[in-house]
């Protein structure tokens, strides 16, 4: 048995040899990318297609600074502690120039903290949490996607136009849901002091017990409902709520539900009339989006999801930052990203110098059912720069440098 202890030592040594570092490469610019590919495949696989397309386009055009981009991509398995370990591998071992990616808010924050500690640039692609640019904002961290605050602000603007006074909320019971609801309540109440909040439901993520939850919402007798459920829970809510008449005579304002990732599985049961943020890829008429759409469909023989646009734009932004910096030096890249304009399929965006948030916006519209599937109609694009707190508020939220 003691011999076995020795064997354990040998095993460790063997494991060590297996993880010895790869030689640093001079050729391509390496970018470390981390996301939850196995835990949240529905959103992250189209996202990966998106950045693959962007990197291929950039490299076909001769790369950046005369060097090709090379992405070293890793799966974090949905665990922040593993993401931190992987960040260490990418930075310490693979010698990447910067980190990018992440979907879940807690993973985004963990990698952001790692980046700050180790003085590495991190371009967060998808995490929605407000904290990553505000309360826990950092010199080293930028974020692309419109935050919970921004999307709540867009939806509250629409909600304020409704006659409804009695509102109920339903959202998953974790930071994403609680901060969405808190922002929406605050912003709608500010516009409409006459609004009353009559009920709330907080199902655990992935565990929505649809019947009792829908019945509890009906019992609160709201005139309108704010929803932040998505994925499998959204499907349960919609099916059960429709059958039980929860949505009859009530307007629903719903975050993210117009994104193809979440709308398409509902097929012809998509809830007509809901006011949502999303991505109507089939009907966006701008030249920059048409070009992206054609290139994407040509490359993957599939239509893009919102994740595809996020992945694509993140890597376009990274390339633009390196080109502007003229170097892969971290401080130079950060200086370049402050106020950096980037062309995306949604049009031009800017990374705000004040909080490192991009001004990428979202499409707001209504759900309708057409040819047996859900689509967004009557939509418009809300530019992210118009849905921010005042600069003074932002400055007060961010930690002192």
């Amino acid at each position: 048995m003691r011999k076995a202890l020795g064997t354990a030592g040998l095993g460790l040594a063997a494991a060590l040899l297996a993880v010895s570092p790869a030689p640093a490469q001079q050729g391509p610019i390496k970018i470390g990318e981390i996301n939850s590919y196995t835990a949240i495949a529905g959103f992250t696989v189209p996202y990966r297609n998106g950045w693959t397309l962007a990197v291929e386009e950039i490299n076909a055009g001769g790369g950046v600074l005369g060097r090709k981009l090379e992405v070293v991509s890793r799966d974090d398995g949905g665990k922040p502690e593993d993401a931190v370990r992987i960040a260490g591998e990418l930075v310490g071992d693979q010698k990447v120039a910067l980190l990018a990616g992440t979907f879940l808010s807690n993973i985004g924050l963990a990698v952001a903290d790692y980046a700050t500690q180790n003085k590495v640039l991190f371009v967060a692609a998808e995490p929605l949490t407000d904290a990553i640019v505000w309360q826990k904002g950092s010199h080293y961290v930028f974020r692309l996607r419109p935050s919970t605050y921004m999307q709540a602000a867009m939806l509250a603007e629409e909600a304020a136009k409704l006659p409804a006074k009695r509102w109920a909320t339903i959202a998953p019971n974790y930071e994403y849901g609680t901060s969405f609801v808190a922002n929406f309540k605050k912003l709608l109440s500010a516009r409409r002091p006459d609004v009353q909040w009559v009920g709330e439901q907080w199902p655990a993520l992935g565990k929505l017990d649809a019947g009792p939850t829908v019945e509890a919402l009906i019992e609160a007798k709201p005139e309108a409902i704010f929803n932040a459920e998505f994925g499998g829970d959204l499907i349960k809510l919609v099916r059960e709520g429709t059958t039980r008449g929860l949505f009859t005579g009530r307007t629903v304002v719903s975050a993210l539900s117009g994104e193809p990732e979440y709308l398409d599985p509902l097929k012809d049961e998509a809830p007509s009339g809901w006011i949502v943020t999303g991505y109507p890829w089939y009907a966006i008429d701008t030249p920059e989006h048409k070009r992206f759409l054609a290139a994407y469909q040509n490359r993957f023989h599939d239509y893009p999801r919102l994740g595809s646009v996020v992945g694509y734009s993140t890597f376009k932004a990274i390339a633009a930052a390196i080109a502007k910096a003229g170097s892969t030096d971290t401080q130079k890249m950060i200086a370049a990203m402050d106020g950096l304009p980037v062309e995306t399929p949604f049009g031009g965006i800017v990374f705000r110098a004040i909080d490192h948030q991009s001004t990428m916006g979202a499409w707001v519209g209504k759900i309708a059912v057409k040819d047996g599937k859900g689509v967004m109609v009557d939509f418009h694009y809300d530019d992210g720069k118009n849905y921010q707190p005042t600069d003074a508020d932002v400055a007060a939220l961010r930690p002192a440098k």
């Binding site: 048995m1 076995a4 060590l16 017990d209």
Partner: protein, 614 residues
């Protein structure tokens, strides 16, 4: 009033869903004593296969229900095949070892389902004729839910008839009570077990298929189902079908009304119920203490105190460990740091499970509390790192002192499930008490003190603390206290007769295990710079369990070996392929079949044999 009636009906419908998943698990456990983690995967497969069949078959009632029935049969066949190809080979392995094999199946199925059906949720059409709602007391109630309310009791009745009116059923009941006696009477146990596995898996598949009209088939179904299924099974009493139904009813109805009063309770309610039930009825509502299996699996080998020559291996091993990683570079250091910490975590679990005979499915509670203790001390009190590392084990030990009083009175799977309940309650506190714990965003910025900021220094500190702890654990096992602990495991009556206060001994053992798990958690927090509720999540408890079983429960060298193999494999495979779950699952299954005593156990036996030969 109408609201109360409707919520009651909702509770009944949910109860049927819960019951269908749980009863198959209960039957399988009752007869084979296998803790079948793959049950949730079979449930998920039922939903996916039914989806494919329903889409394929004509949109008629026959098409829908035919699809459901075929899916259930297919999943039953898959379950039977797994039993024949895999589990049959390892029935004689130590208790709980089979769960390692079933976990391998979970990983394999998860990746196969992703490959076959894709990542998007798949929403099947509802059965023709049951798409609408009926009005009950002026409220719309889905027709399908009415059907579901009936399905639970119907399946319950069918199973009762099967078990009480057929010869096969009588044999199953007999095997549930005393499988050695059944074998002695000439019954072909192998076929009985295969049949039971087929039936249990079929019920899981049926549960998944019947859930389709309420829920889209999705890739999270396996893990989100399995914990609930276990809770229902344990609350009802393992092996008791009627108990499973009553438990499902209790949980579902409490949930239906609970969310009206406390909308945030869904996170933890089911585990609160389990904790309360097990505290008062240690074998569940309808369960009885199972007959001790006579020599099921290998007898525990008495631990040898060693021959005093261990230093010949340990000293050079430690020297290598201290020197090699820093030479191999920064990243290698952080991987090995993580392995060393998890080896201590696994060893602390092994101390409970092996010498202590107290299996735990919730050991991450202590690991996580240690991590949070250190992080809170650092953030709120500004404690320096060494003080934080001292707070960690103390915090974990205090929790163990409190909950150990309830836990150590139980044994076997019931004890394991009560620890799981404790872990889930701690997890939900960490998750929900945002003001203190930061919720799911965790606590950031828990970095080591300046002198230990360098990776190599922190690694050497970790090696020192973990190596010292492992040595202490070993000393405890061979001390008189350890002998009393092992005596309590192997022969509780004789131990009590010789004047050992077993409860006190086990309670102390429980606290010691928690103490070291807490230290591992504290080190982990500083090595990652942050703490998250995932440190307390079920998956972390399971990881520790896998390491212990993989290494081998019968030897003290097992946990470190298991940690090296498990973390090393997972980390290496996931760097090269997205299909790491599939590969890791296959490797685990292969290891399980090749080394039914665990890797270190195998090595020890091999050495004994080699010595015997010379």
């Amino acid at each position: 009033m109408d609201f109360v009636v409707i919520q009651l009906l909702n509770g009944l419908a949910s109860a049927s869903s819960l019951f269908l998943v749980a009863c198959g698990l209960s039957i399988i456990f009752g007869v084979t004593r296998i803790v079948n983690f793959a049950h949730g995967s079979f449930y998920m497969l039922g939903a996916y296969i039914a989806y494919s069949l329903v889409e394929l078959l004509p949109r008629t009632p026959l098409g829908f229900w035919g699809g459901v029935a075929l899916a259930a049969l297919a999943v039953g066949a898959i379950g039977g095949a797994v039993e024949i190809a895999l589990l049959k080979r390892i029935y004689r392995a130590p208790e709980l070892f089979q769960l390692l094999a079933t976990f391998g199946v979970v990983l394999v199925v998860a990746d196969l389902a992703l490959k076959i059906w894709g990542a998007e949720e798949l929403l099947a059409p509802r059965p023709p004729g049951l798409r609408g709602a009926v009005m009950i007391l002026g409220r719309a109630f889905p027709q399908y839910d009415l059907l579901l309310i009936a399905v639970g009791p119907v399946v319950l009745a069918a199973l009762w008839l099967l078990f009480h009116r057929t010869r096969w059923g009588a044999l199953v009941r007999a095997a549930t009570q005393d499988r050695d006696m059944v074998a002695a009477l000439g019954v072909n146990q192998g076929r009985l077990f295969t049949g039971v596995f087929f039936l249990g898996s079929l019920l899981a598949g049926l549960g998944g298929a019947l859930q389709l009209p309420r829920e889209a088939a999705n890739l999270q179904m396996d893990l989100s189902t399995i914990a609930e299924a276990f809770v229902i099974t344990v609350v009802g009493g393992m092996g008791s079908i009627a108990g499973a139904y009553v438990a499902a009813l209790l949980v579902a109805v409490l949930q239906a009304f609970g969310i009206v009063v406390f909308p945030k309770i869904t996170l933890v309610l089911i585990f609160l119920v389990m904790a309360v039930v097990l505290a008062f009825r240690p074998y569940g509502l309808f369960g009885r203490a199972a007959a001790e299996p006579r020599a099921a699996g290998a007898e525990a080998q008495p631990l040898g105190a060693g021959d005093g020559r261990a230093w010949r291996w340990v000293v050079p091993g430690l020297a290598l460990l201290a020197v090699l990683p820093p030479l191999a570079g920064g990243y290698a250091v952080s991987v090995v740091t993580e392995i060393v910490i998890l080896a201590l975590f696994a060893a602390s679990l092994h101390f409970m499970m092996g010498p202590g005979g107290m299996p735990s499915f919730g050991h991450a509670a202590f690991f996580g509390l240690g991590a949070y203790g250190a992080a809170l001390a650092a953030r709120d009190v500004g404690a320096p790192m060494l003080l934080g590392l001292a707070v960690a084990p103390v915090a974990a030990a205090l929790l163990a002192l409190a909950c150990g009083w309830f836990c150590v009175r139980l044994s076997g799977v019931y004890l394991a499930m009560l620890t799981l309940a404790v872990a889930q309650i701690v997890w939900s506190v960490a998750f929900q008490w945002t003001g203190i714990t930061g919720g799911d965003n965790g606590i950031l910025g828990v970095w080591p003190a300046d002198w230990a900021r360098g990776k190599t220094v922190f690694y050497l500190l970790t090696l020192l603390l973990c190596g010292g702890s492992l040595w202490l654990l070993r000393r405890i096992v061979f001390a008189p206290f350890g002998a009393a602990l092992r005596g309590g495991r192997d022969a509780p009556r004789r131990a009590e007769a010789s004047g050992i206060d077993l409860t006190a001994v086990r309670w102390t053992g429980f606290v010691i295990a928690a103490l070291f798990a807490g230290l591992a958690g504290g080190l982990f927090a500083y090595s990652k710079g942050s703490v998250f509720p995932t440190y307390i999540a079920i998956s972390r408890s399971i990881d520790a369990l896998l390491m212990v079983l993989l290494g081998g429960i019968g030897t003290l060298a097992g946990p470190p070996v298991g940690a090296v193999v498990f973390v090393g494999l997972q980390e290496e495979i996931s760097r090269y392929t997205d299909l790491w779950r599939l590969l890791l699952g296959l490797v685990i299954i292969t290891l399980v079949v090749a080394f039914p005593e665990g890797i270190a156990g195998f090595a020890a036996r091999w050495r004994r044999r080699a010595e015997g030969a010379t």
